[in-house]
Every structure is written in C-alpha cells, then in structure tokens.
C-alpha cells in the first residue's frame, strides 16, 4: 500500500474546512446483559458469561433489561435530548462470526433519544455539539485473529471467538455534523469525547474506560473547500482508544484528505483503523451509503414506551451538569481560568476533585496530577484517568509530603 501524501495541518486549513461527525459507543455498566440475565463482568474467562439467548441458540428469545432502558433515558436527558414516547428495536442484518444471530438488535429510525446538544469548552471558548440521536443496541462478541501480521481476520491462521461481550448493552451517541474553526477541530473532538466520558461517569451508567473499550469513538471526517456548501467524501476512523488519539486521528485525517484533494484525487469512502504507535490511519473495509443492513422492526421485542412521569423522575436524578460543576469547583478551589483549563484539558478534573475530597489542598492536588504524572501519561499515549494511581494514593502522598517524610520526587520514584 502506498504511503499517503500528507499536507501540513496548518496548510490544509488554509484551503479546506473540516466537517466532523462523532459516533461514540458507551458500554453500560448494568449487572446483566441487554437481553438476558448473563453477567457483564469485564475480563472473565472466555465464553463463561453466555446463555442460549446471547449465544443466539435456536428458539431463544430476548427480553429487554429495564435498567438499560433507564440508563439510556438518563443519558438522553443528560444530552438534552427528546425522549421518544414510543420506539422500537430493529434488526441490523449482516453476517459476522462474532455476532451470534448474524443480526444485531439495535435501533434504526426510532431511537430512544434524539435532537440534543452538549456544550464543550476548548481554551475558554464554548462550542455547542448537536446530538442527532442516542440509541440502544447490543454489543457483539470479540474475535481474536491468530496468526498473520495484521491481527485482522484476513491473513489469520484461525480465529478465536469470545461471546462474553455479546449482548452487553451499548448506547450509541451520534452527533450532527460538526463544523468549527479548522484549527480547533481536533481539540473540540477530543473535548467532546472527554465531556461524554465525564457525563457517563457522573451519571454512573458506564465505566467509560476507553482503554477497556467501554467507551469507543469513531471519527467521521471530510473536507470541503473553504466557502463550499457541499460536503466532501468522508472516512470513518475506528479503533480510537484514547482522548489523545481522537485529537490525533482528526489531525491526521485532515492532512491525509487534503493531500488527496490537492492532488486532484478522490477520497475513498471507507472505514480506517487508527494506529496508536505512529498516529496514522490505514484503510479498513470500503463502506458506502449503499451498505444494506436490511433493517426491520425486531418482532421478538415489544415496543418501548416509557411513561412520561417516569422520564421526569429520571430527569430529577441527573447529576450536576459538568460545565456547572466546573464553575462551582473553580470558585470553591479559588483557581483562575487558566488553572482550570489546565486541569480540564488534562482530563484530571475528577482526579483533582477526589484528591481534594480525600484531604489534599486544591493547589497540591493540582500540582500532583498535572506534574510528572501527566507527562508520563503523555509519553505512554494514555490518559491520566487511565493510570493506576488513585486519588486516595495521591492524597496519601500529599499528606506524607506535607509531613516532610517524603517529597514529590521520591514519591514519583516510588510509583
């Protein structure tokens, strides 16, 4: 495969306006799966959390997990969405070995939540991201392709299938097209995914761990010449496993698309895989609008018609919206805007808050989490939140430092 010609990011933006669309899958943390009573514990022995329903055995039938519906509605409300008074599941039909029924029970033209928005902050500016829909679906199993160089099904000697994940409830959150100043696009994409993570954690509906796949982002991107109204052809980058990768994937795709367009070429509509190692993407499978999943309403499930009174009860359980919480914490901590931006930008808000709660002073907590830890995280390409240190440990180290029994440098060596 030829190496794509890349145009420098800044140069690309002089000629093209990026248009993004983000699809985020959130794995719910319900105790049981979407349509059966199997447990959802992460990391169990392969094929030990399965039953006739999630294995798609002949004759088995799905029953909706009420807790998943509740989580879906709370997510929808937190995204300022309308909640459907009546909606159905639909079958998305395609063959793949890790999908037990060879159709995915999902939602199609009747999502549980639609028409919402969230506001995200980048460098002090607020950007409104419009949400098209949030719908419910079941996860697939996991394939492990053994042999071959790519780790993909093509070229593999054999594949192992683990159905523990099959049937775990997912919420797919789809944005409308996002057009922000091109130089801000990568950061806005990252801030949006980060915001969703914070929201999911605050709602308590998901572990929202990108490294474990409980929050997964697909980045759709196209370019159009500045001033043009018609959208260009998009690519859909999958396998973006950290907030930083979201940002890098957007940057890379802008450079790649610009290279193709500058040379008079056409962008291929396809899925692409993001590579953490070098921040590039490579071609996956061709994808067209004509992909025919033969959706039709799922006849094995009754329609979902949430009682409006219940929806209002759920609205009352929503946590403080992240933006308001940030303002409140800033006041409580006595930080200036720049301090807060640093913390939020590093994805360390919750960690600092919890460390303060565990007994540290705000200034020390900030210093601790934004110091060498953040640099280490950056080196490893991971997010601060994904590191193994806990806020309690942070607070402990802080107290020891205060007591003069250790210092920051020693504490870091001890990690």
């Amino acid at each position: 495969m030829s190496t794509p010609t890349l145009v420098k990011f800044e140069d690309a933006l002089t000629r093209y306006q990026p248009v993004m669309g983000l699809e985020v899958h959130v794995e719910l943390n319900t105790a049981t799966k979407m349509f059966c009573g199997c447990p959802t514990t992460f990391g169990a022995e392969p094929n030990t959390q399965v039953c006739p329903v999630c294995l798609g055995l002949p004759g088995a039938l799905p029953v909706v997990n009420a807790k998943a519906i509740e989580s879906a509605i709370r997510i929808g409300l937190a995204l300022n969405c309308q909640i459907a008074e009546w909606c159905r599941f639909a079958r998305k039909n395609y063959f793949y070995p890790d999908m037990p029924k060879n159709f995915q029970t999902s939602q199609y033209d009747e999502p549980i939540a639609f028409d919402g928005y969230v506001d995200v902050e980048v460098e002090g500016e607020t950007y409104r991201i419009e949400i098209e829909r949030a719908h419910m679906e079941e996860d697939t199993g996991k394939s492990l392709h053994v042999g071959g160089s790519t780790g993909r099904i093509h070229g593999a000697d054999y594949s192992l299938l683990d159905y523990n994940r099959a049937g775990i409830p997912l919420i797919e959150i789809v944005t409308k097209t996002i057009e922000v100043p091109g130089d801000k696009a990568p950061a806005v994409a990252r801030a949006y995914v980060n915001h969703l993570r914070d929201l999911m954690v605050a709602l308590g509906v998901s572990d929202a761990r990108m490294d474990q796949g409980s929050l997964r982002a697909d980045v759709n991107l196209s370019l159009k010449p500045i001033g043009a109204t018609e959208f260009g052809t998009r690519s859909e980058t999958k396998n973006v496993n950290s907030f930083r990768s979201v940002e890098r994937a957007v940057r890379y795709e802008i450079s790649r698309h610009a290279g193709i367009l500058d040379a008079g070429g056409t962008v291929v509509q396809e899925t692409r895989h993001f590579h953490e190692s070098d921040g590039t993407t490579s071609a996956g499978r061709p994808k067209s609008d004509a992909d025919d999943y033969r959706y039709f309403p799922e006849p094995d499930l009754a329609p979902v018609a949430p009682d409006p009174a219940w929806v209002e009860e759920l609205r009352a359980t929503l946590p403080e919206p992240p933006a308001e919480r940030r303002k409140r914490l800033q006041t409580e901590w006595g930080f200036n805007d720049l301090d807060m931006r640093d913390i939020v930008g590093a994805g360390a808000l919750d960690l600092v808050a919890e460390t303060v709660e565990a007994g540290a002073t705000p200034a020390a907590a900030k210093k601790w989490w934004l110091g060498e830890l953040a640099r280490t995280a950056n080196d490893q390409g991971a997010d601060v939140a994904a590191l193994t240190n806990t806020p309690a440990q942070g607070a402990q180290v802080h107290r020891l430092s205060d007591a003069g029994r250790t210092n920051d440098k020693l504490a870091r060596q001890g990690d």
């Binding site: 006739p52 055995l57 002949p58 004759g59 039938l61 029953v63 033969r294 039709f296 006849p299 094995d300």
Partner: protein, 501 residues
C-alpha cells in the same frame, strides 16, 4: 380392556385417575402402536421409548403415593421437532440441525414435563416449518393415515398424522400460516392456533416471529382444550407473551352450545379455488349449526384476498433474518467448501448453508432478503405490513357483527404425495383461509366436518384475540353434531392401517 390407543386424552386421564390403567400401560401401548405403524406413517423423527416410560413410571409412583397430580399427568404426548428439548434432538426437519441437542427446554416442553406428560418423541415437519405437505422435511415425508399415498398437510404433518394414526392421543404443533389447522383438516384431527402471545414461543425455533404460535393437536375438541390449558399462559422469557390468564377453554369445550351464537361466514373464503366436496361439507356443517340454534350470517372481509401476498412478504422477510444464525460457526452442520484450500469463515458459512438448507428454505430466504432490501422495503415489507393492519381491521369490524367467523380450513382435501412439489405457488395457495388469523394474531380452530372422496374436510372457526374459548365452544358443538350425524366419532372412520408387527 379395549385398545388404549383409541381412548381420547380425557378418557385416558379419567382411567388413570380411577386407577383402571397405569401411565406405563398407556404409554407402552402407544409406543407399541408407533412401532407397528411408523413404517407406513413416518410421523416421528425421534421416538423416546426410554424417556417416555420413565416419566410414566414416575407419574404412576406419585399417583400411588397419593400425590395430587395435574389432569393430564401420565397422558402421553408427541412434540413437533421445532420445539427444543434437552433429552432429544431438535432438527426442525433440517439437515442443518441434524443431531443437534438443545441445552434448554422450550417453555412449552417444560410445561408438558411439569404436567407429568410422557413425551413419546418428536414429530416430522417441513424443514423449519416451511411447507404445507411435510414433503419438505429433509428426512422424508410423513404419510396421511387416511391414505398413505397422500400428504398429511404441513408443516405439522407429523403431529397431525401421529394423532390421526392413534400413535399419540395428543401432540403439540406450531402454526405460522396454518401449520396446525391445515394438517388437522386433511388428517381429520382437531388443531388449534391460539391467540398470538397466548402460548410461549421461548424454545420454538423461529420461522416468522410475528406469526409463529404453538398450539394443540388432538382427536377431540375437549382434548385440544385440555392440552391448550397446559401449554398456555404468560412466560417472562417471551416478550411477546400476553400477561393474561389462559381463556376458559376447557369449560367452553365441555359446554359446546351454539344456541344464539352468531356465526359469520367469510364471503371471500370458500368460493373460487375451493373444491366442491370441501364446499359441500362446509355448508352441511353450517346447516347443522343453524339447526342447533346458531345464527348464520355472511360477513365480508375484503382485505383477506391480499392475505397470501402479504404473508409471503412478511414471513420470508422474518425468515431471512431468523435463519441467519445457522452459519456453522457455533452449532449444526459445518461443510468445508469444495476445492478451496484454507477456506475463510465466510466461505464455510456459504458452503454450509448451501448444503444444510433445502430448496424451499432457500427460496424463502432469498424472497425475504429481497423484500427487505433498501429501495424495495417500502414497496414490499412496508406494504405487506399495511395489508396486515387492514386485515386486522376487517377482523375487528367482523367481530362487531358476529361472535365467531367460519370458513373451510383448507381449499382441498389431502393431495397425492409429490403432486404440488414442483409448484410452490399452488402449495402457497393452500394457506388462503388460515393465513389471515396469523397476520392479525387471532385464534383459529379446525374441526373435522365430513368426508369428500373419502378424505377428511376441516371446518375453521376464528375468534377475537384472547377469546379462544369461543373456538372451543363452537368447535365442540360442531363436533357433537358431526358425531351424531355419523353415529361414531370422526376419527373412528379412518381406515385401519396395516400393522407391520
């Protein structure tokens, strides 16, 4: 002692209760009968002599110990091979599932077991319940006990033939477009498709989820009601199961009183395409009912003429999706494609599906895949769903005027084996009178009403959803009138099968 296989289920239950026979005796007699006539009838795919006798012995022991038992405890039953069982294979009449044993019992099967009913075996069927003759079984056709050169109907020809041939007093069938009622009609047995959602579908290997419904097959209306009561009721494992009590079907079957009952004859069903002999029997049935005090009126259901067209879009659409799971990855037949070294998963799926499915199944998968395709969805699946709504409205309007609707169950008597095998459209047309009930989710019963050319003719009643008891009331009345006219039970008129032992 007279022949226990000639007893009705109600008579067997009474004899068991008063201690004049044991379940082991009854069950053994039926197993012996199966051994004697199966060579001709071929109703069963699997016979479970050991399991059935073990259940029977257990029930006898519990009865002897004075334990209170369900009414049908100890009465043997046959189960269509489309319902999952942990102790017997479940093949659905397909090579795809040859030898497959389910790790779980269908809810209906669990209920039979809980009721203490020995399961004699699993009955033959058209592959994945697709067909009207049982000739589409991958394991060869079942023969009609009334004439073994003829088809026993389908897809549940095995269950109907087993009951008609006195191999079982009761059987469980499933009805997606008529697969209980049409075999009932052509084998002179009683078959009921309950209200959609009245009987759990959990463990019923789906053909078309929105149409499938399990129901009883018996030689009398009362027997069907007794089995219906065992099978029916809410199941939390089936989201489409109705959370309502089973209608009072047994009481209705014991009543059998049509005086003052308004019976609507569906003007769209019974004319063109219906054999004269079938029409004659149906009309005679109406006359007897009228003499017994029923009020007969004609009712028009104009959308019913589109029923077959709508059915043959909705059903295959669901089939195309429901049967996608048979891909050789986790269970069932796996075939390596010929001439391919190191085949891909996709190639194995394709080769296995090619080898494992018969022509009729493939035909419906292709039809349904096409009907759901983007660009065709609205014209085919979408339009069919609209017709479905219109048919449901026709039923609603009709049931404002009458208590039950009536028609011949099937346009013809049993045809000869092989006669329609190469003519799928003619086979599909056999479902014209039974399909509307599936599309609208309402219940239906077929009751034997007479003979044409020496072969049974079925009379169908249809009732509003959850008014299954009306079927049993009307059906029992008609049954009594027919028995009085003939001077003996209908089933007793079947010619003797040659006993090969």
């Amino acid at each position: 002692m007279s022949d226990l296989t000639r007893f009705t289920a109600a008579e067997i239950a009474a004899a068991l209760a008063d201690g004049s026979v044991t379940s082991v005796e009854v069950t053994r007699r039926h197993l012996d009968r199966i051994a004697a006539v199966e060579g001709d009838v071929r109703a069963f795919l699997h016979v479970d002599r050991h399991g059935a006798l073990a259940t029977a012995a257990d029930v006898d022991r519990r009865r002897a110990a004075g334990e209170p038992l369900p009414e049908l405890a100890g009465v043997p039953v046959a189960v269509k091979d489309v319902l999952t069982t942990v102790d017997l294979p479940t093949t659905c009449g397909s090579k795809m599932l040859e030898g497959w044993i389910s790790p779980y019992d269908a809810t209906v099967v669990s209920k039979l077991k809980a009721a203490g009913m020995p399961i004699l075996g699993k009955t033959n069927m058209d592959e994945f319940a697709m067909g009207s003759s049982t000739e589409h079984s991958a394991y060869g056709p079942t023969r009609n006990p009334w004439d073994t050169t003829r088809i026993p109907g389908g897809s549940g020809g095995g269950s109907a033939a087993a009951v008609a041939a006195f191999e079982a007093p009761l059987a469980v069938g499933t009805d997606t477009g008529g697969s209980i009622r049409q075999p009932g009609a052509v084998t002179g047995t009683v078959g009921v498709k309950p209200t959609y959602g009245g009987v759990s579908r959990y463990g019923l290997v789906a053909m078309a989820s929105s149409l499938d419904q399990a129901g009883p097959v018996a030689r009398t209306v009362l027997d069907a009601a007794l089995l219906h009561e065992v099978m029916g009721g809410h199941d939390p494992r089936d989201s489409t199961s109705l959370d309502m009590p089973v209608p009072p079907v047994v009481e209705a079957a014991r009543r059998g009183d049509v005086s003052g009952l308004r019976i609507g004859v569906i003007s769209e069903l019974g004319g063109e395409g219906f054999q004269p002999g079938v029409r004659r029997c149906f009309e005679e049935g109406l006359e007897m009912l009228a003499r017994a005090g029923a009020e007969i009126v004609e009712v028009s259901c104009p959308s019913f003429v589109h029923g077959i067209a709508a059915y043959y879009l909705v059903m295959p659409s669901e089939v195309s999706s429901n049967l996608a799971k048979f891909d050789a990855m986790r269970y069932g037949l796996r075939v390596a494609p010929e001439g391919v070294d190191d085949p891909s998963a996709e190639q194995v799926m394709a080769a296995s599906r090619d080898a494992g499915f018969g022509d009729e199944v493939k035909r419906r998968i292709i039809l349904g895949t096409y009907a759901l395709s983007s660009g065709y969805y609205d014209a085919y699946y979408g339009s069919a769903q609209k017709v479905r709504t219109l048919i449901a409205r026709d039923f609603e309007a009709a049931f404002e005027q009458v208590d039950v609707l009536a028609s011949p169950t099937s346009p013809t008597v049993a045809w000869s084996l092989g006669e329609k095998l190469d003519d799928p459209l003619s086979m599909y047309a056999q479902d014209v009178a039974t399909i509307p009930a599936n599309l609208a989710g309402v219940p239906g019963i077929s009751v034997p009403v007479g003979l044409s050319e020496g072969l049974p003719v079925g009379f169908q009643f249809l009732a509003p959803a959850m008014a299954d008891d009306r079927l049993y009331n009307a059906g029992a009345a008609l049954e009594r009138l027919v028995t009085e006219r003939d001077g003996r039970p209908f089933a007793a008129q079947a010619p003797e099968l040659e006993v090969t032992r």
